[in-house]
Amino acid sequence: MASIQRAVPVLAERECAIRVTDLRKSYRTFGSFDSRHKGSFSAARRYLGKLTGRGEGRFTALDGVNLEVRDGEVFGLLGPNGAGKTSIIKILSTLVLPDSGTVLVSGIDVVKNPRAALKNLQSVMAGNTGLDVRLTGRQNLEFFADLYGIPREPAKAKIDELIELSHLQGFESEMLQKFSTGMTRKLLVCRALLSDAHILLFDEPTANLDPVSAAEFRNYIRNDLAKNRKMTVLLATHNLWEAEQICDRIALVRKGKVIMTGTPNEVRAKVADVVNLSLVVANLNGSADRLVAEVKSVDGVLAAEIEQSPLNGYSTISIEGVKGLDYNAFLQKIISMNLQIRSIESSQPSLERAFLKLNEEAAN
């Protein structure tokens, strides 16, 4: 069942890859300079304030975030730009220090013991390659293998394995400047996997990739990393469709708060105040109006309409009803009319609609 943000963790320690409790982070903001202040005493004062650190404001990026990511799942952090997704990823990656709260990676506190935490977790940032364009793909991986302290021979075997996993064979001896964005992104994953980390974080994994490369990369995350290698993946994205495609569970983040956590279906169901059904029936034989009238007479049905196909004689009846609509009632009416039901399909609201609605609720 979907859950609104919880304060108390519920997963057992052994099945919890990442546990974030009451995480808070704010950043300093510096006053901006606009033309009204140009050349004035006020401008000088503001500039002095910027240099000395006085008169700064603070921007709250995370406001008590609680999260649990299960071992082996693909978990998505969804939210608009500025929601706090990257801050969560960077804190988990030990690149940003939180103001308060606890962040455990495989039970290790990332603030107290960052080096140990990094043995379990690595991240791949979209805008930040950290790779050297003047070196080949293999040289880059060898460099990071050395930094991870992997001896030369095992490192070579591992690099070969990762290059194969990432379908980069034949390109590894090319200089990185010849790599496409998609290939570079895969090389970054190879770099992260060198460490034997079993948790992988992605910040906007398919940003700047063309549709074909993006689809390929999503498949790579879902199948090669999560399914075959049994890795835990946490990804931050504002692409709802992407989250729906590859995530087992998602958390909706808004203004530094997690407003809901659950599977994509649970999130959609949470906001489904209407249900939509689509039935295909045969042998209607001129009783379309009667069928619509019968269906509409059922309690909770808001609208019904029929579309008949001239090709196969089948008719599709679309029904919109309130949440908790009694399906049996109108199915009995259809059966009593001696109509054959060929298919029934229930459609849920899209994740995008769910996200917008929850966002609106949180804002109110």
Binding site: K25, Y27, R28, A61, S87, K90, S93, T94, L95, V96, L97, P114, R115, L118, K119, Q122, S123, M125, N128, T129, G130, L131, D132, R134, L135, Q139, F143, F144, D146, L147, Y148, G149, R191, S195
Partner: protein, 269 residues
Amino acid sequence: MESPIEFGKIWALTRRDMSRWITYKSQVLTTLMSGSIAVASWGINGSYRNVQVAQYDCSYVSFLIVGVVISNLILPLTQGMQNRLNPWTLESILMTGPRAATLVLGTSLWPYALAFMFMIPQLFIGIYIFGAVLNVNIVSFVLASVISTMIVFSLAMIGTGVKIVTKMTDPFTSALAVAASLLAGMTYPVSYLNNYIPGLSTVAWLIPQTWIYDIMRLSTLTDASVLNPGVAEVFIGALLVAVILLPISYYIFNISIRRAKRDGTLGWM
């Protein structure tokens, strides 16, 4: 207990810098040329003056050539580390969990090795074209090199730490470079400063580079043995500067990283 110095990682960083550097063929040539031209121009300057430097009992051209070569050794290191620590690279490297010392040594070693290699043609020009005379005491020279390296690494670490926080500019290195160019005695003995303002040479000794110039010149120009009490005194002074600077710089580098992580600006530059 884990070793505080991770040699494998230091070598990895050095090899990365080396592999990258050799791909820039024109840079190899221009670095070599600019260093040699600097030595040549100062060599002409020194030959023109043609005076003896009593303090080191050598010709001015010898004094000047050694000063310029040392300056060419210091500069790439203090600036080189900052240039190599790009923020995007820094984040990725920090994710591998290195110690601060590893990061600093690994990032500094190649520019330092390179500067050392370029010393050879520069000294060659100084000796064979401008007649500079070296009188090297090997033990003192090795000791002076070690102490100088410690001092320069410390300065590089402080400068890099400051730049990680201030981002665009490093006021520490800039201020120190200005002070050094004015007072550290690259082109004159610091005692000469007293002719302008009495006691100014004492201020010059507050600049770490002054110690480097002095111990390097003593060991390369005067065959000074560290067993000589007068020389030992200078070397102990320089060693003290290094021993004080090293932990301070390590601390500053670490708190700078921590500050940037707290501010969330580690990936900025």
